[in-house]
Amino acid sequence: MKPFRFRATVNGRPVDLPVDPRRRLLDVLREDLGLTGTKEGCGEGECGACTVLLDGRPVNACLVLAPEAAGCDITTIEGVAVEGRLHPIQEAFLEAGAVQCGYCTPGMILAAKALLDKDPRPTDQAIKTAVSGNLCRCTGYVKIVKAVRLAAARLAREEGAV
């Protein structure tokens, strides 16, 4: 099949490359752009390990074909820290002990970011719902929920300080 020009913004940077239109966004990110922080756990939309943000919305990159993401603003885990400084969600994941094997972590952090970007004061139930498409086999989710709560409080404080 004829490649098409995949043009998008990935982690704030413009990207323009020829891509087979049948290719999944996940492969474009991991293989073509070398952004391997986005993980593949199932390839069929069941685990959330491949979660990235498409114009701020969390999507499973394994279910999105490259053409569907063209023109979008894409955020992967590599784009969450700003200039080498960890994002408060990343810090909170570390501090709260929400990371064990770390395979679900990039997807979890992006799902959490999408939540906090639109609901800065979520309830525990809202947090659990926001990450309900992201499986974690290690943590029992307890510290993940705690980390998101902690990040929300920190972001609110930062907000207040500005």
Binding site: K39, G41, C42, Q90, C101, G102, Y103, I109, C136
Partner: protein, 432 residues
């Protein structure tokens, strides 16, 4: 630095007992941790393994000529290409890297395809022809242990038996105030770690180097060296960040196949299981049938247990013998029982292989012994906490294997603390 300012020697406790953040945490929250599937090398090839679709068969021939002719295919390997020993296994070397004589389960590896891209790989897989003669198969330990059952590994299908005998169970049963006998069954379970099996191998400075998701890199090295017929010092296994294991990454998965492919082609080779392949081909938790009899006196003190555990280890031993032995040793639960007769059987079938999974047979027996404790408590009108406190090990207690427990016997404290927490939370309200 801690402890310096006040002129006191920094106590060990300034670091032991402290919730330090994970040393690899920053890499994992930024996405920079390189898991095995994240690695790539110049000139890298891709590998995939063709697996059997039948549970039991004599393998006659594999015709890979057409597959080898697919453009982009670098090689197709079968058992004949293995330079060293074609058997692996942590306890018993009973599992082929690539089947040479007999297929023993659905999912047994038959041929390894190596190609320059995924499309060629897929095309070649469908071109391989496998000729076999199906054999009668057994799908439960009961059938497998019956007389005349097809022998999966040459001799009988009972892989191992563990027996623990202490005191005189039969007379204890006669004296008991309450005797409870039940059969418990537990299911096969999947580890379901989020990261499917993956690895990358290359010959680097003459060393077969394998980056792999694993729970035991040194075991992997032993097996790869034996299978390739080279010295252990010619093999380097580097554990990649591993996306969960829970016992399921203790066995050989991609290691030997990757070693073979890199060694033979001289090129870097990567192999990543799909979720489906991971779940279909990896070892599982042993399904068990447990016949459990417990007896106690009028105060609820255990007098005897008689337990028979049968575990289905599937086509290969894997960690099965260790799992069933551990299940036997732990069958009493954390309780002092003067008279025991415990037997456990690890049995081959043509089911998926069961190996190590978090708990190694103990979650299975815990379901049984804890149900029994509640049944005994019910029979005597005792509270579930009371009967456990009455029987749990104390320092100086003796286990079913005759071991005297001297130190660090915290079971009583865990019962007290769990109960106190449950009370504090109001969990016990309206209950006792």
């Amino acid at each position: 630095m801690t402890g310096q300012a006040d002129g006191k020697m920094p106590a060990v406790s300034s670091v032991i007992g402290r919730s330090c953040p994970r040393v690899d945490g920053a890499d994992k929250v930024t996405g920079s941790a390189l898991f095995a599937a994240d690695r790539r090398m110049e000139g890298m090839l891709y590998a995939r393994v063709l697996r059997s679709t039948v549970p039991h068969a004599v393998l006659r021939r594999i015709d890979a000529e057409a597959a080898r002719a697919v453009p982009g295919v670098a090689a197709v390997y079968t058992a004949a290409d293995i330079p060293g020993e074609n058997r692996v296994g942590i306890i018993v070397k009973d599992e082929p890297v690539l089947v040479d004589d007999r297929i023993r389960r659905v999912g047994d590896p038959l041929a390894l395809v190596v190609a320059g891209n995924e499309q060629a790989l897929a095309a070649a897989m469908s071109e391989i022809e496998v000729f076999y003669e199906e054999l009668p198969a057994v799908f439960s330990p009961e059938e497998a242990m019956a007389g005349g059952a097809p022998a999966i590994h040459g001799q009988g299908n009972i892989q191992s038996v563990t027996r623990i005998v202490r005191g005189d169970v039969d007379s204890a049963l006669k004296e008991a105030r309450a005797v409870i006998s039940r059969r418990y069954t537990t299911q096969m379970v999947e580890h379901a770690y989020l990261e499917p099996e993956a690895g990358l191998a290359a010959v680097v400075d003459g060393l077969v180097t394998i980056w792999v998701s694993t729970q035991n890199p040194h075991y992997d090295r032993r097996e790869v060296a034996r299978v390739l017929g080279i010295g252990q010092n010619r093999v380097r296994v580097v554990q990649s960040p591993t996306g969960g294991g829970f016992g399921g990454k203790l066995d050989i998965s991609v290691q030997c196949l990757l070693g073979l492919a890199a060694w033979k082609t001289g090129r870097p080779v990567r192999m990543v299981y799909s979720r489906e392949e991971s779940m279909a081909a990896s070892p599982k938790r042993h399904p068990c049938v447990i016949d459990y009899t417990s007896a106690c006196d009028g105060d609820g003190r255990l007098l005897a247990v008689k337990v028979k555990i049968v575990g289905d280890t599937g086509a290969y031993a894997s960690y099965g013998p260790a799992t069933l032995k551990r299940a036997a040793v732990h069958a009493t639960g954390p309780y002092e029982v003067p008279n025991v007769f415990i037997e456990s059987y690890c049995v081959y079938t043509n089911n998926p292989t069961a190996g190590a999974m978090r708990g190694f047979g103990v979650p299975q027996v815990a379901f049984a012994h804890e149900s029994q404790m509640d049944l005994l408590a019910g029979a005597l009108g005792l509270d579930p906490f009371t009967i456990r406190l009455r029987n749990c090990f104390r320092p100086g207690g003796v286990t079913a294997t005759g071991q005297r427990l001297l130190h660090s016997v915290g079971i009583k404290e865990t019962i007290d603390r769990a109960r106190a927490k449950a009370e504090e939370l109001g969990m016990l309200e309206g209950k006792r």
